[in-house]
Amino acid sequence: MSLLTVEHLTIRFGGLVAVDDVGFSAEDGRITAIIGPNGAGKTTVFNCLTGFYKPDVGRMTMRRDGREYLLERMDGFRIAREAGLARTFQNIRLFPRMTALENLLVAQHNELHRASFHSLAGLLGLARYRSAEKMAVERAAAWLDRVGLTHAADDEAGSLPYGDQRRLEIARAMCAGPRVLCLDEPAAGLNPKESADLAALIRDIKAREKIAVLLIEHDMSVVMEISDHIVVLDHGAKIAEGTPDHVRADPAVIAAYLGTAEDAA
C-alpha cells in the first residue's frame, strides 16, 4: 500500500472545476512531481492535502505506523501533527520577524509542548523540558548546517536573501518531522546555480530521510532530473502519469504545453 493515496479528488469553485477527478500516490523514498501549465490546479491539490480547502469529492488517505488518516476529515494542525504532512509555499511563508533558528524550533513545537506541560515547566526550567529543548536546538542546528545557513541562525528570517529563505523553508518543513514533504515550486526565482543546489538538497533528503516528496515545479530541468514519477495536470484533470522519460514523450503532455496544431492555426 502507498504511503499517501489520493483518489477522485475534485474541487469546484462556483462553476469552475479547479481539480477534476485526480488520483495519484506518493511512496516512501520517492520523489513524485506534479506538473502542468499555469492554472492546471497543482497548488489547489496541495491546498487540499494540507487542509486549506475541503474537497467536494474524493479521498486522501495517509498511512502511518499502521494507522490510516483521512486528511479531508482532519483539522489543519492535526494533518501536520498526526498524519505527518509538511509543506512549503510558492510565495515563501517563513515567520519573518523570528530568527532562522526560531523558525525551525516552532516546527518542533509539539514535542516541546508535550515535554513542557504547556510551558509551565518551561518557565521553571525543569530538566525534562531542558533536555527536550536541547534536542530541538540540536536538530535545528543540524538542518541549518545541511541547508548551509548556520551563519544566519540568529538573523531574522525576513531579512535573509531570497534563495536562503527558500532553503530555510524546506529545513523548517523537515524539522516538523514529516512523512510526506510537499514542495510548491521550490526553484521559483532561483538562478541556475541555486536550482542545482536545491535539486541536490531534495535528492539528499529523499536518500537520507526515506520520506516521500511531492514536488510542484515549473523548472523542467529540475523536474526531469530528480523525479521518480511525474503526474501531469491540465485544466484540473490528470492527462498523463509515469516516469520522466515516459511523460516527456507523451503526445497529450506535449499538446498541453505547446498547443495542438488546431490551436496554432
Binding site: 489543519g76 492535526r78 501536520a80 520577524r97 524550533l105 516552532v106 509542548h113 510551558s119 518551561g122 530541538a136
Partner: protein, 304 residues
C-alpha cells in the same frame, strides 16, 4: 523635590496597574489583531473576586496578610482566567474568519454584558474593604512634608517587575511563546506546522486575564473600594497605554502604562485634577500624530 519624589512613587504604582492591564490588550491584539474591549471588565471582575475572597477570609478572622493575599491571588487568577477563557470561547472564536469589525462589536457587547451582570449581582454601591496591608517608610522629610512609600506600593512595583520579567521570558524563550509569536505572524502557517492555533489563542486570553486579575487585586488593596464601573476607565486608559507604547509590544505596554500613571500623578499634583484624563488622552493624540506606531511599535512595512 520631595513633592516630586512623592508623585513619582504614586505615579509608578498607578502605572504598574495600567501596565498589567495593558499587556492583556497588547497580547490579544498581537495574536488575533482585535481590541478586546471586554478586557477592562475582566479586570473589574478580578477586583471583585479579590474583594469577595478577602471578605470570606475576613469572616474566618484570617490574620496573616501575606498568606491571605496569596490565597486571594490564586482565587482571583483562577476565576478571572476562567472568565477570560469563556469570553474568548463564546464571543470571539465563533466570529474568527468573519469580517473584521464583528469581534470588535462582540467585544463591546461582552463589555456591557459583564458590567451589567456585576451591577445586578453586586449592586451599584462602592464596596469597601478594610486595609489589608498597612504601614510604610518615610523616605525624606522636608519641614511638614514627608515622602512616604508604603509597603503596599513596594509590593506592587516588585510584583509588577517580576511578572513583566516572567512574561518576557515566557514569550521569548519557551515553546509556548514561540508558538504565540508564530500565530501572530502567520496563523495558517503555524497550523501547518502542527501548532494548535485555537488553543494558543485561548491560552493568550487566559494569560491576559490572569494579569488583569493581578491588577484587580492590586486595585482592591490599593484603593480599598470596588464598584462595577471601575473597569471602564481603567480599561480605556490601559488600552491607551498599549497604543502609546506601541500595540503588540510587551515592553511597550508596560512603558505606556508607567507613562500614563506618571502623567496622571504629575498633572494631578500641579494642575486642576479634574482635567487629568484630558491630559492623558491629549498626550496620546500628540504621540500618535508624530509616531503612529507608538513609542516601541514596529512600523508595518508594506512590500511592493
Amino acid at each position: 523635590m520631595e513633592y516630586f519624589l512623592q508623585q513619582l512613587i504614586n505615579g509608578l504604582t498607578l502605572g504598574a496597574i495600567y501596565g498589567l492591564i495593558a499587556i492583556g490588550y497588547t497580547m490579544v491584539y498581537g495574536i488575533v489583531g482585535m481590541i478586546n474591549f471586554a478586557h477592562g471588565e475582566v479586570y473589574m471582575i478580578g477586583a471583585f473576586v479579590s474583594l469577595i475572597a478577602f471578605t470570606i477570609l475576613g469572616t474566618f478572622a484570617f490574620a496573616n496578610p501575606v498568606v491571605a493575599i496569596l490565597i486571594v491571588l490564586v482565587a482571583a487568577i483562577v476565576f478571572t482566567a476562567a472568565y477570560g477563557w469563556t469570553v474568548e470561547r463564546i464571543a470571539y472564536r465563533p466570529l474568527r474568519g468573519s469580517f473584521r469589525l464583528a469581534p470588535l462589536i462582540s467585544a463591546i457587547g461582552v463589555s456591557i454584558f459583564l458590567q451589567n451582570y456585576v451591577h445586578l449581582l453586586q449592586g451599584a454601591k462602592m464596596k469597601p474593604l478594610q486595609p489589608v496591608v498597612t504601614g510604610g517608610f518615610v523616605l525624606a522629610q522636608d519641614g511638614g512634608f514627608a515622602v512616604r512609600i508604603t509597603y503596599l506600593q513596594i509590593g506592587i512595583v516588585v510584583a509588577t517587575v517580576v511578572l513583566m520579567a516572567a512574561f518576557t521570558l515566557l514569550i521569548q524563550k519557551t515553546s509556548l511563546g514561540r508558538a504565540q509569536r508564530a500565530c501572530e505572524q502567520d496563523r495558517k502557517m503555524a497550523a501547518l506546522l502542527g501548532v494548535n492555533v485555537d488553543r494558543t489563542i485561548s491560552i493568550t486570553f487566559v494569560m491576559g486575564a490572569a494579569l488583569a486579575a493581578v491588577a484587580g487585586l492590586i486595585f482592591t488593596l490599593y484603593y480599598g473600594a470596588v464598584d462595577f464601573f471601575i473597569g471602564f476607565l481603567a480599561g480605556l486608559k490601559a488600552f491607551t497605554a498599549a497604543v502609546l507604547g506601541g500595540i503588540g509590544s510587551l515592553p511597550g505596554a508596560m512603558l505606556g502604562g508607567v507613562l500614563i500613571g506618571l502623567i496622571e500623578a504629575f498633572w494631578s499634583a500641579h494642575f486642576p485634577i479634574a482635567y487629568k484624563d484630558v491630559a492623558v488622552f491629549a498626550i496620546l493624540v500628540i504621540v500618535l500624530i508624530f509616531r503612529p506606531t507608538g513609542l516601541l511599535g514596529r512600523p508595518d512595512v508594506e512590500k511592493v
